[in-house]
């Protein structure tokens, strides 16, 4: 079974620029999550999708972050404009059901550095 795919693996941009990350979940997984992991911390949920719809985006900084999941498969997360504090690893995860106690399977993330 292919895992969660993310790209790019690394991205370096200057502050106030925009950036986008892409995620392809495990085939058949209806639920998709985006997390932000700052160095030395655990992952923090940004947004959860169930198929095309948003289940939880309460911790997404909506003034600069946006995410979409068209056709209920791939997803993109965008930051515009980026700030220095956005430097982190952005992880995508998927699970087969929408209940939180279903284990989530993670991709290897995109490491974002803001100069």
């Amino acid at each position: 079974e292919a895992g969660v795919a993310q790209s790019p693996r690394y991205k370096i941009i200057e502050k106030r620029q925009s950036v986008a990350f892409w995620c392809n979940p495990i085939s058949g997984h209806a639920t998709l999550y985006w997390y932000q992991q700052i160095l030395g911390q655990g992952p923090k949920l940004l947004i959860q999708f169930q198929n095309n719809g948003v289940v939880d985006d309460s911790q997404l900084p909506k003034d600069r972050f946006s995410a979409e999941r068209l056709k209920g498969v791939d997803s993109t997360l965008k930051i515009q404009p980026a700030k220095l504090e956005d430097s982190a690893v952005y992880l995508c995860a998927s699970s087969s059901r929408d209940t939180l106690n279903q284990p989530q399977h993670f991709g290897d993330g995109t490491r974002l550095s803001i100069l």
């Binding site: 939180l100 284990p103 993330g109």
Partner: protein, 108 residues
Amino acid sequence: EDQVTQSPEALRLQEGESSSLNCSYTVSGLRGLFWYRQDPGKGPEFLFTLYSAGEEKEKERLKATLTKKESFLHITAPKPEDSATYLCAVINDYKLSFGAGTTVTVRA
């Protein structure tokens, strides 16, 4: 507010030296607890789910236990390949909250 605290932050072990990692939590309506392993430059890899106090799960040299206030991850006779950061995450009715992790280094 829900809190998940892992201790110690870092643990250095000699190969074969057993030890335990702690995950203490304060959360309303606990639905379960996950343990994950994270290697440098990789995403977290699922290890265990525990749902109720008294439950135990085992996988190779790892054993996870759960009480009403904390969970332990016991590493028995660790090997260098067990070196990683171990994350716990608690689940309540509406969200999943991760701790900051314990970084384990096992020396040969």
